[in-house]
């Protein structure tokens, strides 16, 4: 059998790097449906998975793809799907099932311009709120956003580790630019890659309750074929997993699903701060827009403007506490994203009037013009 980690230095697209990251994280099942600009992930997985004994299957649509990776996860596989645009909308139904049944899996959304068919080959960043609450019902989820092919590799591994640890579908919010651009990607030695695995049952069948949480609010996860006769349902359920269609059970279950992410957000949330200390104005960004913000910072520095950058690595959960803290100390937050204000609203909420908030957004199809971002910064600075 082939190796799952092909250590070396490569010149890869974000999509190819994502597939390499998935294999390195232990992914052995991929179900998907082709859609631009994510198809290269499926193509790569279809070549690589058989080499490592895994299974690639092309399903009939995205509804099926999402359902299949949940099934595979309950059979013990680390599973993934990748899609974009309309595809992620179709996956929302079963992402909800994944949340409700606490099924670890990774969903890659290579964001393109929308709504609807929109811009299949061009970039967008407008699925951010959909990633958070796109499925019906109330829940919390984890989403990450890489800004380079190297990060596509690294964050895919992180996404699997987070999914396995917190038992929730994790969304990798790539975007078309990161998915298609090539850059140097260094794949480390297998021994240097940290991989997390779900916690299995510590008790024998009989006494064991499949949805009884441990202290960290995460239940232990048996899988099919282990003799636990588990029952997994999308209905509101009790600790045995049996349907309990009543408000008390709803309160108990859904509040835990929300809390397991919210109360652990200090362990999950992750961001990078560049020149934030002493900055008057801080840019907030993620994905490809981060790259533009880095360029803007350099130009601003030449002009004598002290500009910081808070770059979201994990978008959900959002670094609420940190943004709130900074808001009391600075003049303004400028959110740079390819939409008309999604994270910007989140920033506004956390800032709660303690500093100026601005959005530099556009509808997609290309990245930001650094000049436009700079203008917004200069307007506040003057």
């Amino acid at each position: 059998m082939g190796k799952d980690v092909l250590t070396g230095t490569y010149f890869l697209t974000g999509n190819e790097a994502c597939a390499a990251g998935a294999l390195a994280a232990g992914c052995r099942f991929f179900a998907g449906y082709p859609i631009t600009p994510s198809s290269e992930i499926a193509e790569r997985m279809s070549i690589r998975l058989p080499q490592v004994g895994g299974v690639y299957i092309q399903m009939e649509d995205e509804l099926a793809s999402m359902a299949a990776i949940l099934g595979a996860s309950w059979a013990g596989a680390k599973s993934m799907t990748a899609t974009s645009g309309p595809g992620i909308s179709l996956m929302m139904e079963n992402i909800g099932l994944g949340v409700m049944t606490e099924t670890p899996c990774v969903v890659v959304n290579v964001m393109r311009g929308g709504p609807s068919t929109g811009l299949p080959t061009l970039v967008g960043q407008a699925d951010v709120m959909q990633a958070r609450w796109g499925s019906h019902g109330d829940y919390e989820i984890i989403a990450l956003s890489p800004s380079s092919p190297q990060e596509a590799f690294d964050y895919t591994i992180r996404a699997f580790n987070l999914a396995e640890t917190w038992r929730v579908p994790v969304i990798l919010l790539m975007d078309e630019v990161v998915g298609h651009m090539r850059e140097r990607v260094v794949i480390p030695e297998k021994k240097d890659i940290k991989v997390a695995n779900r916690r299995g049952p510590s008790e024998p069948p009989g006494k064991f309750k499949a949805f009884k949480p441990k202290k960290d609010l995460i239940p232990e996860m048996p899988v099919a074929g282990q003799g636990y006769a588990i029952h997994v349902t999308g209905l509101t359920h009790d600790e045995r997993g049996y349907p309990a269609v009543e408000w008390e059970a709803q309160e108990k279950l859904v509040s835990r699903l929300v809390k397991k992410i919210r109360l652990n957000s200090a362990k999950i949330a992750s961001w990078e701060e560049i020149g934030v200390e002493g900055a008057e104005i801080i840019l907030i960004s993620y994905g490809v827009s981060t790259r533009i913000c880095r360029a803007v910072r350099e130009i601003a520095r030449e002009k004598g403007i002290n500009l910081g950058l808070l770059r979201l690595e994990v978008i959900w959960p959002f670094p609420e506490k940190r943004v709130r803290e900074l808001a009391g100390r600075i003049n303004a937050f400028v959110t740079v994203e390819i939409n008309y204000g999604q994270i910007a609203l989140e920033v506004e909420r956390c800032v709660a009037g303690k500093c100026i908030t601005r959005l530099v957004g556009h509808g997609g199809g290309t990245v930001h013009d650094p000049q436009k971002v700079l203008e917004a910064v200069e307007e506040i600075a003057s």
Partner: protein, 501 residues
């Protein structure tokens, strides 16, 4: 004598006893079908630890939850793809889908036909009660014509699915139909399905006395009695005659039973011939055999090599844009330049590609930015160097040629016009030279060699290494000659007019 009260049933072993009685109405056929499945499982000899049941939504959807097996109650219509994931990730599992007609044939219809087509080894038991029972008896994909439901009050006008015919047409290797009044035959069919390697389908015609029966004047047991009267049992039933009308005979029996390699079997046969694998499973129970460490390949140095001494240092990012017609190999050129810079020169390089909707023949471009430090903006906005290989591409991208920039063209294929005087043009008859080498397709490599001779931002050694790692096996010699031809052509030119990039 007072008999001691009986509390246990021999089938309880396979039931989640604490959940019985189930939610199904008196006279409903679901219980009989479930009971038959329990019998079939008991006599199957299967290790029940490895049996999983998947349901969708609706009355039938509750079935999974009553069986004391690994059971999954999924979303509406998605039982089959969910089961597909379970089965493929752990092929040791026997995966049964137990769901209703609305769930499997309407909202999940697409999954049903594709699972049958690709012959995934799952056993589908479709309990057909001709309506949506749980939600109050609305019409569905199997409601017979003129039947009354809460949404077909004047009688159903649509033609229903003949499910067995549909499944046979999709290539399912096992297709049978019984009514819930035939528990014995159901049990036999289910037993056969459990043994089959491949997609197998059983339709169970079951009464829904509460909804379908009540609205069609067949209350309680009368509906089942009617089905029993309507049922025609044949040893070799004609599937084309299996349509169900309100008063027609209900043709029962085994319609299809043939051998066809299941999805996993076919996968193993096809892929094993090309890739060394001994098992397909996603649950990680087949550990990877680590291959002995081989010396690092040229394409992928195991450890970052020493920074080459001839590494060009590029302070300000250099933007390069290559344009041509689809099929000219412009993308490959860009890729080689990027690899050379990023992997072998240890510089930074960002490569992007413009896509045109045509797969071949449309003008397309690829762009590379090279610098010795981190590159932020991914797109080329002001190219310092442009390479254009065809007139069609020139017409499209001429607007990007900036004053003072360098333009490299195929002498014979591009006639530059309307350019600022300050544009420095370097021309090479790349296609002609490639033809002389014997293959027109290597014109892109000729121009790449030419580019290497003229442009100082990438070292020759890096370019040669990247080239070797990027071309198909067996074409090395031709490509290296093409590269050399272009390079020498450029070197000569450079001797005359060194522009000192």
């Amino acid at each position: 004598m007072i008999e001691p009260q009986i509390l246990e049933h021999p089938k309880d072993l396979l039931l989640r006893k604490e959940r019985i009685p189930h939610i199904w109405c008196p006279g409903c056929g679901l219980g009989s079908a479930l009971s038959a499945l329990v019998d079939a499982l008991r006599s199957s000899g299967l290790d029940l630890k490895n049996v999983a049941v998947v349901s969708g939504i609706g009355c039938t959807g509750r079935a999974a939850g009553y069986l004391n097996l690994d059971s999954f109650h999924t979303t509406h219509g998605r039982a089959i793809p969910y089961a597909t994931g379970l089965k493929l990730a752990n092929p040791d599992l026997t995966v049964i889908v137990f769901s209703g007609d609305g769930d499997l044939a309407a909202i999940g219809g697409n999954h049903l036909i594709h699972a049958a087509r690709r012959n995934v080894d799952i056993k589908v038991i479709c309990v057909n009660n001709f309506n949506y029972g749980m939600t109050g008896g609305q019409g569905g994909p199997t409601t017979p014509r003129l039947a009354r439901t809460t949404t077909t009050s004047y009688g159903n006008t649509e033609k229903p699915f003949n499910l067995v015919h549909l499944m046979a047409a999709c290539g399912a290797p096992y297709v049978a139909r019984w009514t819930s009044a035939h528990p014995h035959y159901m049990k036999i069919a289910m037993g056969e399905m459990l043994k089959k390697d491949g997609f197998s389908f059983l339709e169970v015609i079951a009464p829904c006395p509460t909804n379908f029966g009540r609205r069609n004047k067949l209350r309680e047991i009368k509906l089942l009695q009617r089905y029993l009267e309507q049922a025609v049992l044949e040893s070799q039933p004609d599937i084309a005659k299996a349509d169900i009308e309100l008063d027609s005979p209900i043709l029962c029996g085994k319609f299809v039973d043939l051998e066809r390699p299941s999805y996993l079997t076919a996968l193993k046969e096809t892929v094993s011939a090309k890739v060394k694998v001994y098992d397909f499973r996603g649950d990680g129970r087949a550990p990877l055999e680590e291959e002995p460490v081989k010396p690092a390949a040229a394409k992928a140095p195991r450890k970052p090599a020493e920074v080459p001494s001839e590494r060009p240092v590029i302070q300000r990012p250099v933007q390069i844009k290559l344009a041509g017609l689809g099929g000219q190999g412009i993308g490959l050129c860009g890729l080689i330049i990027g690899r050379a810079a990023a992997i072998f020169d240890h510089n930074q390089a960002v490569y992007t590609q413009e896509y045109s909707p045509e797969a071949r023949g449309g003008a397309s471009a690829s762009s590379i930015i090279i610098a010795s430090r981190q590159i932020h903006t991914p797109y080329v906005t002001k190219p310092d160097i442009m390479v254009i290989m065809a007139q069609g591409a020139y017409n499209k991208y001429q607007k990007d040629v900036r004053p003072g920039s360098h333009l490299i063209i195929d002498k014979d294929l591009v006639r530059p016009k309307d350019l600022p005087d300050s544009v420095r043009i370097q021309a090479i008859p790349a296609t002609r030279l490639a033809e002389e080498l014997g293959q027109k397709v290597v014109a892109n490599i000729v121009i790449l060699g030419f580019f290497t001779a003229l442009v100082p931002h990438i070292s020759l050694a890096a370019m040669q290494k990247a080239l070797k790692g990027s071309i198909p096996k067996g074409t090395e010699e031709l490509n290296l000659r093409a590269f050399e031809t272009g390079y020498n052509y450029g070197k000569k030119r450079r001797q005359y007019r060194d522009h000192g990039y």
